[in-house]
């Protein structure tokens, strides 16, 4: 159709789509799903890290972690705002999260069991997130692209802090601390690679999203990038990547790596990851316990507005 063709032409020409511009319903819907899912991930992602905030081992580490989680809440806010430009309210998005209708990144359904996990989240989880997100700074939808610029800048900072934490534990720590890191790597490695989504062969909506430039590289390309980037970093830490099939492929100029357990990935998506219940319950509890506060804020605002009218 005419407007659709014109829209696609603008996208192809690299023109940013802005909220008031015409856009296909499916583009809008896909973006709302993608951006809100991203926002939810930031919010749910506060929980596994928050789990160690009260047990951080030094005051400096505690301050770094608290600042990091704060940044994530901030990312959640920009991203909800970006999604709101598409005509959906934050309330609707939050309701979809709490009802289980909306998803968030599977990675946050894994538990943080030791302090080393905080390092792994910074190094691997934020690392994967950045690889996913850097291309999105150039995506076709303006508000999303701009949010991503800010998010990516902070995420790189977080990734360096996570890696720094691991350097401290692995290269300057006790053997016990290093073992803690190895155990954490064993648990986080595969889930981090799953963050890029199913293999290209099984990825359903990718073609359309690529055409719209709200996805710029395939899942497998990005995943390969993550592996290539992380393996030497693991070596520097003196840690062993838990993949017996991992091997440098001179011909490809990339690391070959083993088969991902997609059954696990699908189980987590369906609600049977280690912490799905706990994460969603924590958000629901917070929402319910906070209802009276939100109601009070509205009531007070209404009273104030009425008073201004009278005055």
């Amino acid at each position: 159709s005419g407007p659709e063709q014109a829209f696609q032409q603008r996208v192809d020409d690299g023109v940013r789509i802005e909220p008031k511009d015409w856009m296909p319903q499916a583009y809008r819907k896909t973006l709302v799903r993608q951006i809100s899912q991203h926002a939810h991930s930031e919010i749910v992602g506060m929980l596994p890290e928050g789990n160690w905030l009260t047990r951080a081992p030094t005051l400096k580490r505690k301050a770094i972690l608290q600042a990091k989680i704060q940044d994530e809440a901030g990312h959640g806010l920009y991203l909800y705002s970006a999604a709101e430009t598409l005509g959906v309210s934050r309330e609707e998005m939050v309701d979809d999260l709490l009802s289980g209708k909306a998803k968030y990144s599977t990675i946050f359904n894994y538990p943080t069991l030791t302090w080393a996990d905080i390092g792994m989240i910074g190094w691997l989880v934020d690392g994967s997130a950045i690889i996913n997100q850097i291309p999105l700074c150039r995506c076709s939808y303006g508000p999303y692209a701009r949010a991503m610029v800010r998010v990516c800048k902070e995420e790189s900072f977080h990734q360096r802090q996570g890696y720094d934490l691991l350097i401290q534990m692995c290269r300057h720590g006790t053997p016990e601390q290093k073992a803690m890191c190895q155990d954490a790597l064993n648990r986080w490695w595969w889930p981090s690679l799953m963050m890029f989504g199913p293999p290209d062969a099984a990825s359903t909506n990718s073609a359309q999203s690529m055409q719209w430039r709200i996805k710029l590289f395939s899942n497998d390309e990005l995943r390969q990038k993550m592996v290539d980037q992380s393996v030497p970093q693991a070596e520097y830490l003196g840690l062993t990547v838990p993949d017996p099939d991992l091997k440098w492929n001179e011909a490809r100029g990339h690391y070959d790596f083993g088969e991902i357990d997609w059954d696990e990935f699908h189980a987590v998506i369906k609600g049977n990851g280690p912490c799905n219940r706990e994460r969603l319950q924590a958000r629901r509890d917070a929402h319910e316990a906070g209802a009276w506060v939100r109601e009070a804020f509205s009531a007070h605002a209404a009273k104030q507005a009425a008073r201004r009218k009278v005055a």
Binding site: M46, L53, R61, Q66, Q177, A286, V293, A296
Partner: protein, 254 residues
């Protein structure tokens, strides 16, 4: 070593540390995202202040205890925080009532401390004062919005205020430590802060359509003792959690 100033720096360090810790417990569990961010900000400011006070305490003591040794390797009876700040968070209104009473005191105290004859104290206080001015404005604003909100929020805030109120008196308690330091112009007498505090608190409480509990209800001796190391049952649990890694892996660096 200046024993009185060491004690006083511990009081300030422990008080800001423990309150920061309590606020950090809200992470991921706040009623609204914007509130959670703001509260996290306050927590982080207080943590920064705690680190400065504890570092100062360690310097004065001169026995090689840095901020972490002081924070992580003292048991409850060695902690010197005011009882108010160690109380459980309760619901959001309980947290904000505690915060409002504390922030208001903290503001008037840092205002005086920033004119301390001890330069180190003055510097920490001056830096903190800017942050705390914002904390105090914010918590007053919340008391008004929650107090003068719905009937339910009004009732919750009145109860929250009464729950926190009994621990407020300790903030104005003077002992040998504050008297000695006040004599040197290093700190104010805490009793002198009370009129300013009461005046401000009264104004906000009235605007929030709440009732100010009687002042004598904040003066029962049972609700004081934190600055002398006599705490409530809440602190031990907080420390067991906070100190776990340092205790379980002695000598490790993180």
């Amino acid at each position: 070593m200046d024993d009185a100033l060491f004690e006083y720096a511990l009081r300030m360090g422990d008080t800001t540390l423990v309150l920061s810790h309590r606020l950090s417990e809200w992470t991921g569990h706040g009623p609204v995202l914007e509130e959670e961010l703001a509260l996290s900000n306050v927590s982080l400011d207080l943590l920064g202040q705690a680190r400065m006070w504890l570092t100062l305490a360690g310097d004065i003591e001169g026995r090689g205890r840095d901020e972490d040794k002081l924070a992580y390797l003292r048991d409850a009876p060695q902690y010197r925080n005011y009882l108010l700040v160690e109380q459980d968070n309760g619901h959001y209104g309980d947290t904000m009532a505690r915060q409002f009473l504390f922030d208001t005191w903290h503001y008037f105290l840092l205002e005086k401390l920033s004119a301390s004859t001890d330069e180190r104290v003055a510097a920490i206080a001056a830096k903190g004062l800017k942050e705390v001015a914002y904390h105090a404005r914010r918590s007053a604003d919340l008391i008004v919005r929650l107090g003068d909100g719905t009937d339910d929020s009004h009732a919750r805030m009145q109860a929250a205020l009464e729950g926190a109120w009994r621990f407020a008196g300790e903030l104005f308690h003077d002992d040998a430590v504050t008297r000695q330091l006040a004599g040197q112009g290093i700190v104010p007498l805490h009793a002198e802060l009370a009129p300013h505090w009461e005046n401000h608190v009264r104004g906000v409480i009235e605007e929030a359509t709440l009732s100010l509990p009687p002042v004598q209800e904040s003066r029962h001796p049972a609700y004081a003792g934190g600055i002398a190391g006599r705490h409530t049952e809440a602190l031990g649990y907080l420390l067991a959690e906070m100190q776990f890694l340092q205790r379980a892996y002695p000598g490790a660096s993180w």
